[in-house]
């Protein structure tokens, strides 16, 4: 109880609440604009976060994460273009309903469902994460190494269309991570005498380049394409009492489904939302109306995709391994602001964890308030021309890269990784595995090194612990599942 009060006191300090508000509102805007995702939003936020307390930075990132997942539904409903991949299923019924002149109701339903999904997943996060962290506190280097191996197998799940390309992306990330001084032996690797390379590539410019600048290159390809605009007047946001009763029959199970899927590393909002949509349709008495503007077809995916937010935070916070693309970026962001998610955070910084829990919950209510009150503003967000948006983002990217180390070299790194990222994305290489490789690779190597030092070079020590064996087993299962999923065409799509 005292932890809750401590968290409430922190979040509801006016200035901290303002940052949470900015994070959530910014997330909604970023999520709504096609071409920008929660990952890009978090990276654009990073240069500002260095000047905040770690706990404030964390709640702002949490607000951005939840807001962006919800924001994706706005463009999905209004212009049939999901702002984020997790809103793809919302298009199926959201857009037809908007075309019938009921965009207000569609957004209202999406807002209510997203809020409920978020609240349920936050409650699960609050109850599950500390228990898991308590178990993880007993881990030694062998278990941590196995855990990092498991984290790296998430690469298989976030690989996009091609597993081979995804693994190559991950290996590219691992290759970047080995540049610089080896933390165990102190030996200088692959710097070729260049002083800037001795500390390796700076993470912030690499993230900015791979996610944000590469996106600007991609947007350059779209010049000339007309901007899709929603012209109808938005009215009638709230569903009726009878509709609400029906909605909650779908929202609650979808929220739990989303939370459960979010906890499993390598899944994410897109899978959860399609699964929830299918389940809602399967149990509906009016299956035919799905795809033609059924509000249950909006509520199910939206409850599920916001349900994944709290779920995905469980492995991130308690074990230090990200559950999906956005939490991979979040892990990088948190490390840059001086936080290392994992079981030790629960022991060493309980005040930060309490602030996050309360901040995460508050973000859900902010989504409800912002979603319902600013519904008439949403079409205007979608009208921001790319000729203004992306040049401003570019300036922010360069400035953000410079600001951490006050170095023009960092700007060059961002540009270089922007160009590399563009080519990799253009030819089907996903960006998330690169980040996973960059972050988890060194952790895996360090824990392997520690385990070998403790065991006097006995490699067998890696397989002595039952927990480590458990992680190897689920790593194998995770990769096998990804291989099976790629061989079997996805019926949902």
């Amino acid at each position: 109880m005292s932890a809750l009060i401590q968290g409430l006191q922190f979040v509801f300090t006016p200035i901290n609440f303002l940052f949470l508000f900015i994070g959530t509102a910014g997330g909604i805007v970023v999520g709504a604009i096609p071409g920008l995702t929660g990952s890009v939003g978090m990276i654009l936020l990073l240069p500002f976060l260095f000047y905040l307390q770690p706990a404030v930075a964390l709640i702002m990132l949490a607000g951005m994460f939840c807001g962006a997942i919800y924001g994706g539904s706005i463009s999905a409903i209004l212009i049939s273009t999901p702002g984020t991949p997790s809103a793809a299923a919302t298009v199926l019924d959201g857009y037809p309903l908007a075309q019938k002149g009921e965009a207000g109701k569609a957004i209202g339903v999406a807002t209510i469902a997203s809020t409920c999904g978020g609240i349920i997943s936050t409650l699960c996060l609050i109850f599950i994460a500390p228990q898991l962290a308590r178990v993880a506190l007993k881990f030694g280097p062998e278990e941590y190494f196995a855990l990092m191996v498991f984290g790296l197998t998430v690469i298989a799940s976030v690989s996009g269309a091609s597993l081979v390309k995804g693994i190559l992306s991950g290996l590219f990330g691992l290759s970047i991570a080995v540049i610089g001084i080896d933390p165990i032996s102190g030996y200088d690797r692959f710097s070729f005498g260049i002083p800037n390379l001795m500390t390796g590539f700076p993470m912030l410019p690499v993230l900015i380049g791979l996610f944000a600048i590469s996106q600007i290159f991609i947007e350059l390809q779209k010049i000339g394409q007309p901007l899709t605009i929603y012209k109808q007047k938005i009215k009638g946001v709230l569903p009726t009492r009878k509709e609400l009763k029906d909605l909650f029959k779908v929202i609650i199970p979808s929220s739990f489904l989303g939370t459960f899927i979010g906890i499993i590393p390598g899944t994410g909002g897109a899978i959860a939302s399609f699964m929830a949509y299918n389940e809602a349709r399967r149990f509906s008495r009016d299956k035919e109306s799905f795809g033609e503007g059924n509000i249950l077809g909006i509520a199910a995916p939206e409850a599920a995709n916001n349900g994944t937010t709290g779920g995905a935070m469980v492995p991130l916070l308690s074990l230090g391994i990200p559950g999906d693309v956005v939490t991979s970026v979040m892990l990088g962001a948190l490390m840059l602001v001086g936080l290392r998610p994992g079981p030790l955070m629960f022991k060493q910084n309980p005040e930060i964890i309490n602030a996050l829990f309360v901040g995460f919950m508050t973000a859900q209510f902010l989504i409800l308030a912002l979603g319902l009150l600013s519904v008439r503003v949403f079409p205007a967000i979608l009208r921001v021309p790319s000729s203004i948006l992306f040049p401003v983002i570019l300036a922010l990217c360069f400035l953000g890269s410079f600001s951490l180390g006050n170095s023009v070299y960092d700007m060059f790194v961002a540009l270089m990784f922007g160009i590399i990222g563009f080519f990799l994305r253009k030819f089907g290489f996903a960006m998330a595995p690169i980040i996973l490789g960059i972050i988890l690779g060194p952790l895996a190597e360090q824990n392997l090194g520690k385990a070998l030092i403790i065991s006097h070079g006995n490699w067998g020590t890696l397989f002595n612990s039952p927990i480590a064996l458990f992680f190897y087993a689920i790593s194998l299962a995770s990769v096998s599942y990804s291989l099976m999923r790629m061989k079997r065409p996805n019926k949902q799509h």
């Binding site: 500002f48 260095f50 000047y51 081979v164 390309k165 693994i167 190559l168 290996l171 590219f172 691992l174 290759s175 080995v178 080896d182 165990i184 032996s185 030996y187 690797r189 692959f190 600048i213 600007i216 290159f217 947007e219 350059l220 390809q221 010049i223 000339g224 021309p385 790319s386 000729s387 203004i388 992306f390 040049p391 401003v392 570019l394 300036a395 922010l396 360069f398 400035l399 410079f402 600001s403 006050n406 023009v408 700007m411 060059f412 540009l415 922007g418 080519f423 990799l424 030819f427 089907g428 290489f429 690779g441 190597e445 392997l448 090194g449 070998l452 030092i453 065991s455 006097h456 070079g457």
Partner: protein, 154 residues
């Protein structure tokens, strides 16, 4: 796409080969602990294996042994020109920012990028480039105290 995959696969393979060769000069494995060469060489070998898989798969595609339709996603010349100008603008910005200062280099970069994005309204270009620069400057220089590059003459 198949040709591009072969090219990218070959680049990955060659880089991994180079990485493996360079790592041969790192200290040899010690009796206990992890040698600095083990992890990079492991990554290099894995990269070689997977890039070889990518190359072989796409060579087979090109040879027409598989039935998958080849996608024709070539960079069109207009985009190639835009890509070149945008990259050059970025490189020039990074090279010149120390010499001409943030307050001059940034509006030029924003204006050039806006024009590249087909913005035709000059007033808008002027306003957005100048205002964005000033807002970012005030925020980072005055609030966050980031020592942004200054023009040496000022």
């Amino acid at each position: 796409m198949a040709k591009a995959n072969i090219v990218i696969g070959s680049i990955f393979f060659l880089l991994a080969l180079l990485m493996f060769a360079v790592a041969l000069d790192f200290p040899k494995p010690q009796v206990s602990g992890l040698s600095p060469r083990v992890f990079p060489q492991f990554v290099a070998v894995c990269t070689m294996i997977f890039s070889a898989m990518l190359i072989v798969k796409n060579v087979r595609l090109l040879a027409g042994k598989d039935t998958v339709v080849q996608e024709k996603k070539k960079l069109d010349s207009q985009f190639a020109a835009r890509f070149g100008i945008f990259s050059a603008a970025g490189v020039l910005y990074v090279l010149l920012i120390d010499k001409i200062g943030y307050l001059i280099a940034t509006p030029i970069l924003i204006a050039a990028t806006m024009l590249l994005f087909n913005e035709k309204r000059w007033f808008r270009v002027l306003m957005v480039s100048v205002l964005t620069t000033l807002i970012l400057y005030m925020l980072f220089r005055m609030v966050f105290r980031v020592p942004l590059p200054r023009n040496p003459l000022w």
